[in-house]
C-alpha cells in the first residue's frame, strides 16, 4: 500500500475544493455532475463551476467543485484535490494544487515528473488499463473512464455509494439495467482500486449532513426559461449564441412538457430560431406589439446587433424582454468566459436618448423570479426590459432554495384597452398620458376599429401622428423620460446587509459578484473590518442607493469588468460623489473568488487611512 504523506494534516470535513481536468467532448460533464449531485444528496452544500473552451472537442476543460459546509457561493481559488484526467494539463494541474493537496491521475502511463512536488500527494490509478480490460468499444471506454474516476474520487473522499447508485439509476431509468450495471461496474473499478492501494478516506472528505434540505441545483438559464413559462410568455425568438442558448433550450423543454395541448397537439407557444439577432429582436417586437409576452435570450454581441430595434421599441413603446447572458468582450472576446461588461451597453442601448429598465439576478432563483418580473415591467411600462445575467449564473449549476409559485398570481398586462372599453370612449390616442404617470394606454391591433394606431420610430406627437414639430416631438420624449424614471420604484429594490458594527465602509455590488462579496465581508469581519453591503438588483436606481452612499465615507464598488461600469452608472444616475466610489474590479473571464474583494477593500482602506 502506498503511503500518502500528509503535509497538511488537518482533517477537513465538508470543506475543500476538488478540480477535475478533462478534455472537452469526452462526456466528462455527466461524471462531474454525478460527483456534485452525490455530495448535494449527502446533504452537503456545494458550488460547481465549469471552465470550458469555445470548442466542440479536444481542448482542456475544468470542472471545479467546492464542498462548503458554510454554503458559500463563490470559489476559493485553491485546489485541494486535483483529478488530472488530461495529460496536456498535468503540469498546470500539479502546479495549481494547494500545498498538502492531492492529485489523482491515470497511471496507465507512468508520469514520474508528477512526483516533482513534495508537498503534493500523487495518487496514481490505472484507469485506462482497467477500463480497456473490461470494455470493448472505444467510445464506451472513454465514457467509462470518466465513471472510473468518479469511483476513485468516491473512495478518496468517502462518498456514499448508495447515493451514487441511486443517481445512476435515475439517469438511465430502471429499465436500462445494462447501462446502470455497466456504469456501476466502471465506478467500482476505480473505487476498489483506490481502496486497496491507498489509505482511504483522505483527511479532506465528505460526511453526511442536512444542509441541502429545501434546496435544488439548477443553472440560471434553465431557471430563466422556466420563469418565462410561468410569466405566461408565448413567444420567443433567438439566434444561437453562447452562453444564452440553454435559456431557450430550457424554455422549449418546459413548453413541450406544459404547453402542448394533450388533445390537439397544438403548441401554446411559438419559438423561432431567427436568421440573426437583428431579426430575433424584430420578431419579439412584432409579437409584443401584437400583445404576446415575447422575449429573446442573447449575449453581448447580440445586444450590439439589436441596438437599433431596441431604440425603436423604446421610442415606439413596445414591450420586449431581453435576457443578456453576459460573456467577456469586447468583440468576440472569450465566448465561454464570464464578465459583467454589458451594464452600460444595456442601460443605454441604441442611438439617441434612451434608457432602459434592467434587472440583475445574482443566482438562478432570481433568474426565475426576475424573468417573471421582467414581463410585468415590460408590459406595464411598454418598453424593452433587460435581465442582465452572465455565464457564471446562467451556465453553472447553483444550489438555490426551492422555487416557489403562488397559484393566485395573475399577470398584469398593463394598460391595454379592450374592445369593450374602446367602444365606450370617444377616441383613442396611443401616446396620450391620460393618467399623468407617463404610461399611455395601448390596444391590441385588430381588437376594435377605434383602437387602430400606428407605431413608428420617426417623430410623433402625443396623438400618435407623425410630426417634425419640435415642441410636439419633445413633449413625447419628455414623457417617456418620466415613465422610465418612474420605474425605479417598481424594479426589485436593492438588498442591504448591515454589518454587525457601525462602519464608515460600504460595498455596492451586482449579480454574480455577490458570492465573492458575501464571503469577503465575512472574512474581513474576522479581521475586525466591518462593511455594510448593498446589492443592486434593478435600474433605474432606487433612491436607497443615494442614501446608502450618503451614509458611508467610502463605497467599494465590486464588479466584473475593466471599466467600472456599475460605478459609472451610479455616478451618472445618482447624486453620489464620484470620489467616494472606489472600484474593485475583476475581468479575467474566470469566475472570481473572494480574494480580489478582500485585497481590494484592504488596499483602499489602507489608502484612506494614509490620508
Amino acid at each position: 500500500m502506498n503511503v500518502v504523506t500528509e503535509t497538511q494534516a488537518a482533517t477537513r470535513i465538508n470543506d475543500f475544493v476538488m478540480k477535475i481536468a478533462t478534455v472537452n467532448g469526452t462526456g466528462s460533464a455527466s461524471a462531474n455532475s454525478l460527483l456534485m449531485k452525490t455530495i448535494f444528496r449527502m446533504g452537503v452544500p456545494i458550488v460547481g463551476k465549469n471552465l470550458f473552451p469555445s470548442n466542440i472537442q479536444g481542448l482542456p476543460t475544468w470542472y471545479e467543485i467546492r464542498v462548503t459546509k458554510d454554503a458559500y457561493q463563490a470559489r476559493t481559488g485553491a485546489v485541494d484535490l486535483a483529478v488530472a484526467m488530461n495529460a496536456d494539463t498535468y503540469d498546470e494541474d500539479l502546479k495549481k494544487t494547494a500545498p498538502g493537496g492531492y492529485l489523482v491521475y491515470d497511471s496507465s502511463w507512468p508520469r514520474p515528473h508528477l512526483h516533482s512536488r513534495e508537498d503534493v500527494n500523487v495518487i496514481g490509478v490505472p484507469l485506462a488499463t482497467m477500463i480497456n480490460h473490461h470494455f470493448d468499444n472505444a467510445r464506451i471506454r472513454t465514457l467509462m473512464k470518466n465513471m472510473a474516476y468518479v469511483g476513485a474520487v468516491a473512495a478518496l473522499i468517502e462518498l456514499d455509494m448508495d447515493v451514487i447508485r441511486g443517481l445512476v439509476t435515475e439517469t438511465f431509468g430502471e429499465s436500462k439495467k445494462h447501462l446502470i450495471d455497466g456504469n456501476m461496474e466502471a465506478i467500482d473499478l476505480g473505487y476498489q482500486y483506490v481502496l486497496e492501494n491507498y489509505a482511504c478516506p483522505l483527511p479532506i472528505r465528505v460526511a453526511h449532513s442536512d444542509k441541502t434540505d429545501g434546496y435544488i441545483m439548477m443553472d440560471g438559464n434553465t431557471a430563466a426559461g422556466l420563469g418565462c413559462v410561468y410569466a405566461g410568455a408565448t413567444f420567443g425568438a433567438w439566434y444561437p449564441i453562447t452562453p444564452s442558448t440553454s435559456l431557450m433550450d430550457g424554455y422549449e423543454a418546459f413548453c413541450k412538457r406544459y404547453r402542448v395541448d394533450p388533445e390537439t397537439g397544438e403548441h401554446n407557444y411559438c419559438i423561432i430560431q431567427a436568421e440573426d439577432e437583428l431579426a430575433s429582436i424584430g420578431m419579439v417586437i412584432g409579437a409584443g406589439w401584437n400583445g404576446a409576452r415575447a422575449f429573446t435570450p442573447t449575449s453581448g454581441p447580440g445586444i450590439s446587433l439589436m441596438s437599433e430595434f431596441i431604440g425603436f421599441a423604446y421610442y415606439g413603446e413596445v414591450p420586449a424582454v431581453i435576457f443578456d447572458v453576459q460573456r467577456t468582450g469586447p468583440s468576440t472576446g472569450l465566448p465561454t468566459r464570464t464578465q459583467q461588461s454589458d451594464i452600460l451597453l444595456c442601460a443605454y442601448a441604441s442611438h439617441g436618448d434612451t434608457k432602459h429598465i434592467l434587472l440583475f439576478p445574482a443566482d438562478p432563483k432570481e433568474c426565475f423570479e426576475m424573468a417573471v418580473e421582467s414581463f410585468e415591467l415590460a408590459e406595464w411600462f411598454q418598453t424593452p426590459v433587460f435581465v442582465v445575467s452572465d455565464i457564471d449564473i446562467g451556465m453553472n449549476d447553483w444550489m438555490i432554495p426551492k422555487l416557489e409559485w403562488d397559484d393566485n398570481w395573475e399577470p398584469n398586462r398593463g394598460k391595454v384597452l379592450d374592445a369593450e372599453q374602446l367602444e365606450k370612449i370617444d377616441k383613442f390616442y396611443r401616446y396620450l398620458d391620460v393618467d399623468g404617470d407617463g404610461v399611455p394606454y395601448r390596444t391590441l391591433p385588430g381588437s376594435h376599429p377605434k383602437g387602430a394606431f400606428f407605431t413608428r420610430g420617426s417623430g410623433h406627437d402625443k396623438y400618435g401622428l407623425y410630426t417634425e414639430n419640435s415642441e410636439k416631438y419633445q413633449d413625447v420624449l419628455d414623457r417617456i423620460a418620466v415613465k422610465i424614471d418612474n420605474a425605479k420604484t417598481r424594479v426589485p429594490a436593492p438588498i442591504i446587509t448591515k454589518a454587525k458594527k457601525k462602519t464608515p465602509w460600504g460595498v455596492i455590488s451586482v449579480g454574480s459578484s455577490n458570492g465573492p462579496v458575501v464571503e469577503a465581508i465575512d472574512r474581513l469581519a474576522g479581521e475586525d473590518i466591518h462593511i455594510d453591503y448593498l446589492r443592486v438588483r434593478g435600474f433605474p436606481f432606487n433612491d436607497e442607493i443615494d442614501a446608502f452612499v450618503d451614509a458611508h465615507d467610502a463605497i467599494f464598488v465590486v464588479e466584473q469588468n475593466r471599466d467600472a461600469q456599475l460605478r459609472s452608472l451610479i455616478v451618472n444616475e445618482t447624486d453620489a460623489e464620484k470620489k467616494k466610489l472606489k472600484p474593485i474590479l475583476w475581468y479575467s473571464g474566470k469566475v472570481p473568488d473572494c480574494r480580489f474583494v478582500v485585497n481590494g477593500i484592504k488596499a483602499h482602506i489602507a489608502e484612506e487611512q494614509k490620508k
Binding site: 448535494f40 444528496r41 434546496y215 435544488i216 441545483m217 439548477m218 422556466l226 413559462v229 405566461g232 408565448t234 413567444f235 425568438a237 418546459f254 406544459y258 404547453r259 397537439g265 397544438e266 403548441h267 401554446n268 407557444y269 411559438c270 419559438i271 423561432i272 436568421e275 440573426d276 437583428l278 431579426a279 430575433s280 424584430g282 417586437i285 412584432g286 409579437a287 409584443g288 406589439w289 401584437n290 400583445g291 404576446a292 415575447a294 437599433e308 430595434f309 426551492k402 422555487l403 416557489e404 409559485w405 403562488d406 397559484d407 390596444t443 391590441l444 391591433p445 385588430g446 381588437s447 376599429p449 383602437g451 387602430a452 400606428f454 407605431t455 413608428r456 420610430g457 401622428l465 417634425e468
Partner: protein, 350 residues
C-alpha cells in the same frame, strides 16, 4: 411619414358588402412626388381591400424605411401599423403573425429596403412562409437619399446623370421562386386591372405572397436610359399570367376560352383563376417559370402577372403547430403549469 387627413366626402359612393365605401379603406394624404408609382399601388391597395369586403381593422400594416414604406400611412387608416427600422419589416411581421394569425398582414417595402439592408430578412420570411402580402415597390433607385442605384437596378441602366449601373441586379421574383416562395407575382403600378386582383389573391393566399411592383420614381429614375421608367416599362411590358380572385360565394362570371384557364382553390374556398398568355407556361413549376423569365428578359421584356403559385405548403403558424386561437388571446390558465407542477418538477433538480 407625413400625412394630412383627407376630407371625407361619402355621398353617392358605392358600398361593399359591409356597407363601407372606398373612403373607409383610405389613409392619410400622400406626401410623395406627384406622379409617383407608389401612389397608384396605394390606390390599388384601397380598392383591393374594399372589394374583398374585409373590415379595415382586421388588417395590420408593416413597412420598413423609404418612400415605399411611407405609404402604409396612406391606406387603411383604420388598421394598425408598424413602420419599423430599415430593411427589418419582415421580422416584425414574422413575430406579429406568430402572435396573432387572424390578421391580414400587409407588408410594403421597396427595392432599397428589401434587396440590400433587408435582403436577409426578406429571404427568411419567404423560407418560413409567413402568412402575409409582401409588396416590393420597385423603382431601382434610392429616392429619399437622392437617386443612388439600388440593388434592383439593371446592369447598364442609366442614372439621372447618365452613368450606367456597373452591377448585375437582384431580382426579387427569381430570388423568391428559388427560395420556395408560395405566391410570386410581378406587376406594374400603371396597370391597375392587373394589380388589384393580384393584391386580392395575395391577401387571401395562406402563406407568403410576393408582389414585385415596378413603380417608377418620377424624380430620380424616369429618364431615357433607365429600365425602370414609365416609358421603358410600357414598351417592354409582357403580361404573362393574369390572375382573377373569386370569392367563395361568387360565381365565376368571367368568360375564359377553354384550356387557357387554370383554377386554383384557396384554403378558404375562394378561387384564383389564372389566364395564361402562353399556354406552355406552368405557374406551378419553378424551373419552367425561371426559364420563361430568362427567355423573355433576354429580350428586355418585363414579365408580369401571377408567375408562381403553390397552395399546398403550410404557412409558418401551421408549421409551428400554433393553436386555432391566436397566442395573444390565450388565457393565463392555459399557460401556467401551476405551483404543484413546479414542486413536482424540482424533484428532478435535487
Amino acid at each position: 411619414m407625413t400625412s394630412i387627413a383627407k376630407p371625407r366626402i361619402e355621398k353617392h359612393l358605392l358600398r361593399n358588402k359591409l356597407g363601407l365605401t372606398l373612403r373607409d379603406y383610405e389613409g392619410g394624404m400622400s406626401t410623395l412626388c406627384a406622379g409617383c408609382g407608389h401612389d397608384s399601388v396605394t390606390a390599388a391597395m384601397v380598392r383591393a381591400f374594399y372589394e374583398l369586403d374585409l373590415e379595415p381593422h382586421t388588417a395590420a400594416k408593416v413597412s420598413g424605411i423609404g418612400c415605399s414604406s411611407k405609404t402604409t400611412a396612406y391606406f387603411l387608416g383604420q388598421s394598425s401599423g408598424v413602420n419599423a427600422v430599415h430593411g427589418r419589416m419582415p421580422s416584425v411581421a414574422t413575430g406579429a403573425a406568430a402572435a396573432n394569425g387572424d390578421l391580414h398582414y400587409v407588408g410594403v417595402s421597396g427595392d432599397g429596403d428589401s434587396l440590400s439592408i433587408g435582403l436577409g430578412q426578406f429571404c427568411h420570411a419567404i423560407r418560413r412562409n409567413v402568412n402575409m402580402l409582401y409588396v416590393v415597390e420597385n423603382n431601382g433607385v434610392y429616392g429619399l437619399t437622392k437617386g443612388q442605384f439600388s440593388a434592383a437596378a439593371d446592369f447598364g441602366s442609366k442614372s439621372k446623370r447618365g452613368e450606367p449601373n456597373p452591377h448585375t441586379p437582384i431580382d426579387p421574383v427569381k430570388l423568391a421562386i428559388t427560395l420556395g416562395a408560395t405566391f410570386v407575382a410581378r406587376s406594374f403600378s400603371g396597370d391597375k386591372t392587373q394589380l388589384v386582383p393580384l393584391i386580392k389573391a395575395a391577401v387571401m393566399h395562406k402563406g407568403f405572397s410576393l408582389i414585385d411592383v415596378i413603380s417608377p420614381c418620377v424624380t430620380f429614375n424616369d429618364h431615357k436610359g433607365s429600365t425602370k421608367s414609365y416609358a421603358h416599362t410600357y414598351e417592354y411590358y409582357h403580361p404573362a399570367i393574369h390572375a382573377d380572385y373569386i370569392q367563395p360565394s361568387e360565381e365565376i362570371k368571367a368568360e375564359y376560352d377553354k384550356g387557357e384557364v387554370m383554377k386554383v382553390e384557396l384554403h378558404d374556398g375562394s378561387t384564383i383563376a389564372l389566364k395564361k398568355a402562353d399556354e406552355d407556361l406552368n405557374p406551378r413549376d419553378r424551373g419552367d417559370v425561371l426559364a420563361y423569365l430568362s427567355h423573355h428578359e433576354a429580350q428586355n421584356e418585363v414579365v408580369t402577372g401571377l408567375l408562381f403559385l403553390d397552395e399546398e405548403k403550410q404557412d409558418m403558424n401551421g408549421r409551428n403547430n400554433l393553436p386555432e386561437a391566436p397566442l395573444n388571446t390565450l388565457p393565463y390558465e392555459k399557460l401556467t403549469p401551476g405551483a404543484a407542477a413546479l414542486a413536482d418538477l424540482q424533484k428532478e433538480y435535487c
